[in-house]
């Protein structure tokens, strides 16, 4: 039995005595007999060493990233996090706290969240950031609903190259109020958005927002992004930005973005098989009362000392209920702490240097892969920062990646929607790099890729 329930024998008797009852059965007389259950079938309790052994035995069936040369890319990264980040995140004054409802007892987390909001504001060039959302995809979903509060219409435009998971999450957010998510086609050579399509769609007057991602789902930077706002006019523009890219790319607020969302996992948060993650959201000040999520503001205490508190709460579910801007209650505060500690430890110049180094490695890998017959790398003729798309001339992405895996290489991930009803499309893989990717890893990938595509050719 877990020792976390204090002293079973002695003190429970005293508590029962204090209540004048002989058994806890007397505390459940309000549960009708017909609603009672017997055993749940959960199994017997384990002692701590057994729990550790059992969980370790399960985890040994995983092959962690360090087992491989990893080229996993996209919104979720396998980048390195300095040890200082986890050291701060492990401080239990932070991680065992609840939402800072009592501002006076929670100044540490509130000030941290204020710093986090400030950092995302500086990175994006917008005015206001919230204290986080669940992940990049749900942040995009919240942005969709936010746009609808700012502008009439029924159609929300997204790139056809958007990762399928985000598209699916967006479709769910759109479905409640009966809105539609529509794809903007891209140029087959460059992957660039078809701006004429956007012009035509906007002219029909029922577009209430557009989301473009930077880099896009293929890993590329689309220079058309800076022209979108002039086409959209007063239709809100959402930019889904990779935070690291913003160390070298123009702040989207400076080219007309009304909202900037993003996935913050790459900043000090372990991939942990997909969670917890971190949703980023920023908007313009004049729209803050339509914004979703918790927001921390600066104020004073009764002695004139600087203090922080959750603010503009009349937007939120616990006050506004069905008319709230969002149902967000729990967010990702601890991950926001990791994000701001990571960025501050690495520093703005360090972030830009990291992005530049990833770009350089990516070019080396892409030119190596691009020289292989049967592979097109990078698939699109457009600038990229670290991730890029490889297209296979034959075989399937899964088969190709499986051959690489057997040589201890994680070669990226397939871009297609795995749901059977969806069109599979061309066999494409998104490839990414990290701090620890060495020249040797790159050569190993190129060599293994050549062998893999040749083998696929033979078996085809």
């Amino acid at each position: 039995m877990a020792r976390w329930i204090p002293d079973e024998s002695g003190e429970e008797a005293a508590l029962l005595e204090g209540l004048g009852i002989s058994s806890t059965d007397a505390l459940f007389t309000d549960v009708p007999k017909r609603a009672r259950i017997g055993r749940m079938g959960v199994g017997a309790a384990r002692e701590e060493p057994d729990v550790v052994a059992e969980v370790d035995r399960l985890l040994e069936r995983n092959r962690p990233l360090s087992h491989f040369s990893s080229f996993m890319g996209g919104r979720l990264t396998s980048r390195y996090s300095p040890a200082a980040v986890d050291s701060i995140v492990s401080r239990s004054e932070f991680y065992t706290a609840y939402t800072p409802y009592q501002a006076e007892a929670s100044q540490g987390m509130l000030r941290t969240l204020f710093e986090f909001q400030s950092l995302w504001v500086e990175m994006t060039g917008l005015d206001v950031a919230n204290a986080s959302l669940y992940d990049g995809a749900t942040a995009a979903g919240e942005a969709l609903l936010f746009c609808r509060r700012l502008h009439e219409g029924a159609r929300f435009l997204v790139p056809a190259s958007l990762p399928w998971e985000e598209r699916s999450v967006l479709e769910n957010y759109a479905s409640g109020p009966g809105l539609r998510v529509e794809e903007i086609p891209y140029d087959d050579r460059t992957g660039r958005l078809d701006l004429d399509f956007v012009r035509t769609a906007v002219a029909k007057k029922d577009v209430f927002g557009l989301l473009a991602d930077v880099p896009n789902g293929f890993g590329h930077v689309d220079e058309g992004g800076s022209e979108l706002k002039s086409i959209l006019g007063d239709v809100p523009l959402v930019i889904a930005a990779d935070p690291l890219s913003l160390s070298v790319l123009e702040a989207p607020g400076n080219y007309g973005a009304d909202v900037v969302v993003g996935e913050g996992q790459g900043f000090g948060i372990a991939p942990s098989f997909g969670g917890p993650l971190l949703g980023l959201f920023a908007c313009r000040k004049e729209h803050v009362r339509s914004a979703p999520g918790r927001i921390v503001g600066a104020t004073l205490d009764t002695e004139g000392r600087r203090a922080f508190a959750l603010t503009l709460v009349t937007r939120e579910q616990h006050i506004r209920r069905s008319r709230a801007t969002s149902n967000i209650c729990t967010n990702e505060s601890l991950m926001a702490l990791a994000f701001v500690v990571y960025a501050t430890v690495v520093g703005p110049r360090g972030l830009a240097r990291l992005q530049a180094s990833l770009a350089e490695k990516a070019r080396t890998l892409a030119s190596g892969l691009g020289a292989i017959e049967g592979l097109k790398a990078p698939r699109f003729d457009a600038p990229y920062l670290g991730d890029f798309t490889v297209e296979l001339g034959r075989g399937t992405a899964d088969e190709f990646l499986d051959r690489l895996r057997r040589r201890r290489i994680l070669g990226g991930h397939p871009l297609h929607d795995p749901r059977p009803a969806s069109a599979r499309g061309p066999e494409r893989i998104l490839v990414g790099l990290g701090e620890t990717t060495s020249e040797k890893d790159i050569q190993k990938y190129v060599k293994a890729a050549r062998a893999a595509i040749e083998a696929v050719g033979r078996s085809a």
Binding site: W4, D7, L27, D30, V31, P32, A35, R36, A44, A45, L58, L59, L76, S78, R91, S92, E93, A97, Y98, A105, S106, Q107, G108, L113, F114, L119, A129, Y134, A137, L145, V169, E171, V221, L246, V248, E250, Y255, E263, A270, G274, G275, L277, G297, A298, T299, L300, G304, R306, T311, H318, A324, C329, T330, N331, L334, G347, P348, A359, L385, R419
Partner: protein, 488 residues
């Protein structure tokens, strides 16, 4: 208890070292000029030690469960076992990417699968998904599932309404509204659902009734079977908000009570740390009617192998990137293994015992609005304090000076000046008696002292009205207003 929180005059990071943002970041070839950042991100360059000190000092100005009892009602702030922290940081847990090939993540998939099977038994509902990032996220996904279900039945045009009791958490109506439903609140009787009112309210327009049991007044809805019958007779779905599951483990479960779909909060009942507001981890559990609509992928076991299954034609699709919050799910799994069947039952017995013990004592000091038998939490009314010119908020702030966290205040709203107190099973009798004594001292203090509270924390009473009236929401705002983040 004599208590003083650390009070560092700690500036914000940008005041520690004013950023040099003049220089342009390194240029990356191929990036067009108009998309290049002209100035580096305006953020300080600090030494690692300076960063570590800054956030260590901030942490010392924050309450956690490890600091003190944290009796926030409906939040189930129990001890977060350290062994779970250890396990979640194992390389085989943390350093695994969600898009790795299935053959390389069999361990993670098995953890998910095992936890889902256990939670299916705990909830009495056959189909489980761990995809939601939090409780409210699970509520929202469930409402989308209800929507999809009625669309398939051809009844969606008619079933546009979600009903909930006036004691419902705010997330319930917010989630229902986001999923496109209108909401309607059913007035309570003696703190519980008025089944006659409910009977009058349900109709062919009703898609779902959302209910927390025990409810937010800490009362078990004893007429739950009649409620389920009433809702189902109208062809509607019954939704279980699992925020208060900590009271009923092994006693009853949503399946037996007649619920069709449920969410659980692993960060409440199953002790995963809440991180100062998040992360959470949500669970969706559904019966055979709604199970096919759960988000994809589902985890399936084939022989000895585990696989992500996307072949669910009725599924609502995805609600989040990747699958669930694995780091939290693993912690919850270790927590459940440690307790086992008897331990889980013991959790609820002890949580309810703690709650009734403290309620019986504090009930002598302040009125308790409803029947005396409560579950894992209870509600008091601070209304009598008004005669002394004191409000519930003052009492809450004064409690902070005792070195304990305040209760949830002003919720549920059907009780005037409400305080909602929850002291879960991990609090010992000594801590409970200490809390009762602290409460007595706080209550007996003078109105002047209550108004002046708190005095032992890093700041005195925070002016929340000012924060909302003149919003300063970032460093950029502070700069524009000519204010520093430190004491102006």
């Amino acid at each position: 208890m004599t208590f003083r929180q650390a009070r560092w005059d700690e500036p914000s990071v940008w005041d520690l070292a004013p950023p040099r943002n003049a220089e342009a970041p390194p240029q990356i070839s191929g990036i067009p000029e108009k998309l290049r950042r002209k100035n580096a991100v305006r953020w300080p360059e600090l030494s690692e030690l300076e960063v570590v000190r800054h956030y260590t000092r901030l942490s010392q100005m924050n309450f956690g469960i490890d600091t003190a009892p944290y009796p926030l009602g409906s939040c189930t702030m129990k001890y977060n076992p350290k062994v779970s922290e250890l396990l979640a940081r194992r390389k085989g847990a943390a350093e695994v990417h969600p898009y790795q090939p299935e053959a390389t993540v069999q361990g993670s998939l098995e953890v998910f699968w095992r936890l889902e099977r256990i939670l299916s038994r705990v909830t009495g509902l056959p189909e489980v998904s761990l995809q939601p990032a939090a409780g409210a996220h699970g509520e929202y996904a469930a409402m989308l599932m209800v929507r999809a279900y009625f669309r398939d039945l051809g009844e969606l045009a008619e079933r546009t309404e979600v009903l909930l009791p006036d004691t419902a958490h705010g997330t319930n109506p917010a989630s229902a509204a986001m999923a496109g439903f209108t909401t309607r609140e059913i007035p309570s009787k003696e703190g519980c659902v008025d089944v006659e009112e409910l009977g009058r309210a349900v109709s062919k327009k009703t898609a779902c009734f959302m209910l927390t049991n025990p409810n937010t007044a800490g009362l078990f809805e004893s007429e739950i079977l009649e409620i389920a019958e009433t809702v189902h007779a109208a062809g509607a779905m019954l939704y279980y908000d699992g925020a208060n599951l900590n009271a009923i483990l092994g006693v009853t479960h949503p399946g037996r009570m007649g619920f069709d779909v449920a969410h659980l909060n692993l960060h409440k009942t199953f002790a995963t740390p809440h991180g100062g507001g998040g992360p959470g981890a949500g669970v969706l559990a559904a019966n055979d009617k709604l199970g096919p609509y759960l988000p994809v992928p589902r985890i399936v076991k084939e022989g000895r192998r585990f696989r992500l299954d996307y072949d669910r034609p009725k599924s609502i699709g995805k609600i989040k990137t990747a699958y669930g919050n694995f780091g939290l799910d693993l912690r919850a799994y270790a927590f459940i293994l440690s307790h086992g069947e008897e331990g889980l039952k013991h959790i609820s017995r002890r949580a309810v015992l703690n709650s009734n013990y403290v309620a019986s004592r504090l009930g002598k000091l302040l009125p308790r609005p409803f029947r005396p038998l409560v579950k894992h939490e209870f509600v008091l009314s601070g209304a009598p304090l008004k005669e002394r010119g004191v409000r519930t908020l003052d009492l809450a702030k004064r409690l902070l000076d005792e070195g304990v966290h305040a209760p949830t205040v002003y919720f549920p709203s059907l009780v005037d000046e409400s305080l909602m107190i929850e002291l879960p099973e991990t609090e010992s009798k000594r801590e409970l008696d200490g809390y009762i004594a602290a409460f007595e001292r706080a209550l007996a203090d003078t109105p002047e002292n209550l108004h002046a509270a708190p005095r032992s924390l890093s700041v005195t009473r925070v002016d929340e009205v000012r924060a909302a009236r003149e919003p300063l929401l970032s460093w950029k705002d502070l700069r524009a207003a000519g204010e520093k983040a430190e004491t102006p």
